[in-house]
Amino acid sequence: MASIGIKDVSKIYNGGVTAVSSVSIDIADGEFIVLVGPSGCGKSTLLRMVAGLEAISEGSVTIGDRVVNEVDPADRDIAMVFQNYALYPHMSVYENLAYGLKNRRTPKAEIDARVAEAARMLELQPYLERKPRALSGGQRQRVAMGRAIVRKPSAFLFDEPLSNLDAKLRVSMRGEIKRLQRRVGTTSIYVTHDQLEAMTLADRLVVLSGGKIEQIGRPLDVYHRPATTFVASFIGSPAMNLVTGELHGSKLALGPALIDLGATVPTQGAVTVGLRAEDLHIHDGTKGDLPFRIDYVEELGSQRLVHGVVGDQPLVAAIPSEIPLPETASLSIATAKLHFFDSKSGQRIDWVGEGAIAASIPAMEVAAS
């Protein structure tokens, strides 16, 4: 067990392509960190640099109190779980689990004990003599996990370990990974492109885009206070609505509506406004505040996603499915739930009114349209 320090790490390929640029993350002992971002954002490259499978172009990676930049992958005291499991096809499950220990000259009795313990934790006992090809996807995934656990390394590295599984199995394996990590308490770095996986697993999230860190924070902090428009649109499902508005003093012009914020935002003029679909409320007729033209509806069972336009900007509202859909609709939102981003840089703009969640929906003026 150890902390991991990633300091100003960059990956620049021979052709001059920068895959990761100057990333710094301090990972505490026992912490579960999830690197999340769209494909090509450099999350896997970063993980592979920690593992030693990719050379570090700039910066340093520390595991425990040892800089490991020049250390062989086998000597970094890490274990990695791969997306396609990477089980050794010619070895039985037992041999797969024991291979890493055998190569480290662990005594036979200890190998047996550790394999037995891992097999028990992962419910793999009946399959120890089988070859990987005789296992199902979920079982293979558990063997891959077992191979990491038996080593008792300083850190677990997960490279999208669940993306080859079907949706149902993914949910149960997600829970299993979380439980196991809690139990063994090993520092973990987990790479995924699935924001839901990231939210549910992480102690802290690292949102990456274009090889740079967009935001580091606890899942709920990232969800409630996204640092950039990128994070806002990436974390949360459905994605946060991002529309352009205009600030005039303490008033926000949004399409045809003019909303009184009750406080001033430290910027004026054009601004990107973020509205979470689940923070929007729908009203019959013009009782609400933002006139909303419904386009189409996605039924999800527990809720429905109503797609439509406010002014000329598309917007999604998530509403409980028992509320009947009105013919002519309008939307309202608590001003405290509005997010503001700089319209050029996309950076979050903090303001005094946010987070002060109002008990009731404040009255909003409807501009004549």
């Binding site: 791969f82 990477a86 050794y88 010619h90 890493g100 190569n103």
Partner: protein, 293 residues
């Protein structure tokens, strides 16, 4: 297994007919002929033949010369097979690790395969030529007076070197593609589990290469036994008699130089049986240990 339906039950037989015709004309028919003529003593000038039973076989197997040629063939086959497989594998593993200029490197290694066996034999002869051969000069540098075509051992060594040299590219291509068929993530997982590259090779790379290696083992043995004919022919033809030859070359010598078709046929049949037994042995005992993905 996917079952394909044909409109007529005879159609599939029609499809394999050309292949079967070739196998029949060039393999079964001559085999039957060989077996038949191995029981006869043919007149060298074609004036009939006499049935002699198994005496062609007993003559061949009882001859001291035949036995010594058989021993040399065994040694030759084992050495050529393992040297060409081993060196081919070493080169392939190294080529697989090369990052820059790998295609040039690979092409240079594969080139040799494009040379026909007699040409390779001729080139080999030039390498070992008494007057201009660079390898003879190299040997002379170490105080070894190599006399290829005159000295039995020197000729044997030259023959083995040329045969191995000719076969390395073939093994190289197959092993390289076999290596590249090993998933990257398995190699990476092994790199994390095992520090020693040597150990990784024996415990991971080689077992995963086993299907390729098994195939090559059979191909290389066949090559050493039969396809080296061209090389041997160029090296020992028109030379003094005491030169190493393999059983296949002996078949040719007795049949077409010595005009003893019956004895030559008996020897071919013996070779056929040897290959048959070898193949069965390989599939029964070695293939069982091969892991196919």
């Amino acid at each position: 297994m996917k079952r394909v339906q044909f409109s007529s039950p005879y159609l599939p037989y029609l499809f394999i007919a050309p292949q079967m015709a070739i196998i029949f004309v060039f393999f079964y028919w001559p085999s039957v002929q060989a077996i038949q003529s191995s029981f006869y003593l043919e007149d060298p000038f074609g004036f009939g033949s006499t049935f002699v039973g198994l005496s062609n076989y007993s003559d061949a197997l009882g001859s001291v010369q035949y036995q010594s040629i058989a021993r040399f063939t065994l040694l030759f086959t084992v050495l050529v097979t393992f040297l060409s497989l081993g060196i081919g594998m070493l080169l392939a593993v190294k080529a697989d690790a090369v990052l820059k200029g790998s295609s040039t490197y690979k092409t240079l290694l594969i080139w040799v395969y494009a040379i026909a066996p007699p040409v390779a034999g001729l080139m080999g002869m030039m390498f070992f030529d008494q007057h201009i051969g660079p390898l003879v000069k190299l040997a002379a540098f170490f105080g070894w007076d190599m006399k290829v075509g005159l000295n039995y051992n020197d000729t044997a060594i030259a023959m083995i070197i040329v045969s191995v040299w000719k076969q390395i590219p073939y093994n190289f291509i197959f092993i390289l593609s076999g290596l590249q068929g090993i998933p990257v993530s398995i190699r990476e997982a092994a790199a994390i589990d095992c520090r020693s590259g040597m150990r990784r090779f024996w415990t991971m790379t080689l077992p995963l290469l086993a299907p390729t290696a098994f195939f090559l083992l059979i191909i290389n043995m066949t090559y050493s036994l039969f396809d080296t004919f061209g090389v041997i022919d160029v090296m020992v033809k028109d030379k003094a008699a005491n030169n190493p030859i393999t059983l296949v070359y002996k078949v040719y010598m007795d049949g077409f130089r010595g005009n003893d078709l019956g004895g030559s046929s008996a020897q071919s049949v013996i070779l056929m049986i040897v290959v048959f037994v070898l193949t069965i042995f390989q599939f029964r005992f070695i293939e069982r240990r091969v892991h196919y993905n």
